[in-house]
């Protein structure tokens, strides 16, 4: 299964501020028969922090050697990003993440950006199959507020990473 890691959870997965769900996600990426990481376009430099994020660089290098990176040419992502922006259908300012999903076929997104989550779940933008969200933010509908990482790996996290159908290509 092919997944995208958004820049706003980079440190939860690859950095010092690793969350329980972030660690669970990284474990899923690195274990035998684990996940495939989609990468390309602006997100490439966001996640690598211009090559300074040593943990990310190590993980990326090893995943690539093991054939577990869906490495999309930056130009293809940029072209699709421009296409999405021209149609003005995104509520978030992360059209490059959605573009990466469209050209790579990745249908699982780890992100805590609520606008991006809505875009990614929108069948008008991401479809066949629809995108699913892995997140450490919970929405408290009563308080109309969000609650950050609860510090646990939930059944939802486990179920999402156990799926094998979240890939379009």
């Amino acid at each position: 299964m092919c997944a995208i890691v958004d820049a706003n959870v980079r440190d939860q997965v690859f950095g010092a501020a690793q969350s329980a769900a972030g660690k669970f996600f990284l474990d899923w990426l690195l274990k035998p028969k684990g996940g495939i990481l989609a990468l390309g376009g602006k997100l490439r430099s966001e996640l690598s922090d211009g090559g300074r994020n040593e943990n990310f660089m190590k993980v990326y290098g090893e995943l690539r050697r093991d054939g577990r990176v869906k490495d999309v040419p930056d130009g293809e992502v940029e072209a699709e990003t421009a296409n999405l922006e021209a149609h003005q259908i995104c509520r978030s300012n992360d059209a490059h993440v959605l573009a990466l999903a469209k050209v790579s076929g990745a249908r699982l997104l780890f992100s805590n950006d609520l606008d991006l989550q809505k875009d990614f779940s929108s069948p008008q933008i991401i479809n066949e199959p629809r995108g699913r969200i892995y997140t450490t933010v919970e929405i408290d509908h009563h308080a109309y507020a969000t609650q950050q990482d609860t510090g646990v790996v939930t059944p939802t996290h486990r179920n999402l990473l156990a799926r094998t159908d979240l890939c379009a290509l």
Partner: protein, 444 residues
């Protein structure tokens, strides 16, 4: 020029029990743990090359390889089981003469005088085939066929190892009998139209069509301060390299400039050296000479700070380790097949990566490289150069053969690259050790 060797098949050889096929490309890497048969595979390739294309007897002990006697080479499951009585190997060859088609070569090896001997050699092209078959102690049958017709001739060969290689040179159509498949008997003296012979002659020409392969080992030559001129004769350790450089330097100014430029380009990319010099200690061709290298420092106001010229023995192991290989690869009269064993030894990662780039620039249909390596730096660089189109090689031009231990046997996986030069669907064990190390390092 077609690719020389592709689709190598092997059965009952060393740790390879099952009949398996390995895809070779212009640039092929052999990867896997120690003692999984990678060097044996290189040695087998060279023997197949010799037996198929050079008309020489097989020698599994020719340096830099030494696979031992027949019983060391043939497959044996475990200490209780009997060793196999033969092993088989072969390959496909894109043959320019055979209508651009593929010629398949297969050999069966059995024990003769304690070492492997090719009792069967079989070449099959699109329209014809030829075969030598040792049917009794000293009797070969040479057969050939065109479509459904078959001819054969029995030849007495008292000295197997000396004469078997030249068997096909004895070929003369007048001396063959047609084999009647209905009666199962030979009909002597029955000739057929001359034009039918062309595909047969194409195959016969192939049996003695190429020069020696290059087999490089991770050996370091012993550098000296001063060399006496000798006639350079290639050896796996590269002892001939100083004499080769001096010969080119003294005899051909144009070739020296080209070779020096190519070497210095690699030297700069790898960080090993910036300049290579031959210092003749006299005016005659028989004068002693020195080989030196120089590193450059910073450049200021158009002037480059140059370090002292140093003898090879006064610089790190990396230079004297790498020079024979680099010169071997760059030499204008270089062979068509290179078999390289752990060429990264003694080299810093940056030099290993530069070696990857050099491999990309050398490999092609006319010059095939088979590289046994444990270096991620070489492999990473090759795949990135292809992904970023910094080389003319395409993903299909690279093959990664992963030697996977499987109990006491080994399975060869031919890994494929996608259009972004990423390995597609490798076996689970392919990077397991590295993944486990990484998981530990990131605290999982």
């Amino acid at each position: 020029m077609g690719l020389v060797v592709e689709n190598v098949t092997v059965k009952n050889f060393r740790c390879f029990r099952q009949d398996q096929t390995a895809r070779l490309a212009p640039l092929t890497f052999l990867v896997g743990e120690n003692s999984t048969g990678k060097t044996s595979f290189l040695a087998l390739l060279r023997v197949l090359w010799d037996v198929a294309f050079r008309g020489v007897s097989p020698d599994f002990r020719r340096p830099p390889y030494d696979l031992g006697s027949f019983e060391d080479i043939v497959y044996q499951r475990d200490e209780r089981s009997r060793p196999a009585d033969s092993f088989e190997a072969g390959f496909d060859h894109l043959h320019p003469l055979a209508d651009g088609g593929t010629v398949n070569f297969q050999a069966v090896f059995k024990e003769r005088q304690g070492v492997p001997f090719p009792v069967v050699r079989h070449f099959a092209g699109k329209d014809a085939w030829i075969e030598s078959d040792l049917v009794e102690a000293e009797n070969f049958v040479i057969r050939f066929g065109i479509h459904t017709e078959k001819w054969e001739r029995r030849i007495f060969v008292p000295d197997l190892f000396v004469q078997q290689a030249q068997l096909f040179e004895l070929f003369n159509p007048v001396m063959f009998s047609r084999f009647d498949s209905e009666s199962g008997s030979a009909i002597p003296g029955e000739l057929f139209e001359t034009e039918k012979w062309h595909p047969i002659y194409d195959l016969l020409r192939l049996t003695n069509s190429y020069g020696d392969s290059y087999a490089g080992a991770p050996l370091r030559s012993s550098p000296k301060r001063t060399y006496d001129p000798i006639r350079p004769s290639p050896d796996p350790g590269g002892e001939y390299i100083p004499a080769y450089l001096a010969n080119v330097f003294r005899q051909d100014a144009n070739e020296w400039q080209w070779l020096k430029g190519s070497l210095e380009k690699f030297g700069k990319q790898s960080g090993l050296f910036d300049e290579i010099l031959v210092n003749s200690l006299g005016n005659s061709a028989g004068s002693p000479f020195q080989v030196r290298i120089r590193k450059y420092g910073s450049t200021s106001k158009g002037r480059t700070l140059k370090g002292p010229a140093r003898n090879l023995m006064d610089v790190g192991y990396g230079v004297s380790q790498a020079l024979p290989l680099i010169i071997g690869l760059l030499a204008p009269e270089a062979p068509r097949l290179f078999l390289l064993q752990q060429s990264e030894v003694h080299l810093h990662p940056s030099a290993q990566a530069a070696l990857g780039t050099l491999f990309c620039s050398i490999a092609g249909p006319g010059r095939q490289l088979v590289v046994e390596t444990h270096s991620d730096y070489i492999l990473d660089r090759v795949l990135l150069d292809i992904r970023d189109q910094k080389t003319e090689l395409k993903p299909k031009d690279v093959s990664i053969l992963y030697f996977e231990p499987n109990d006491l046997d080994v399975t060869i996986h031919s890994l494929r690259l996608d259009d972004r030069a990423t390995i597609v669907d490798p076996p689970d064990s392919y990077r397991r050790f590295f993944m486990d190390e990484l998981r530990r390092s990131v605290g999982l």
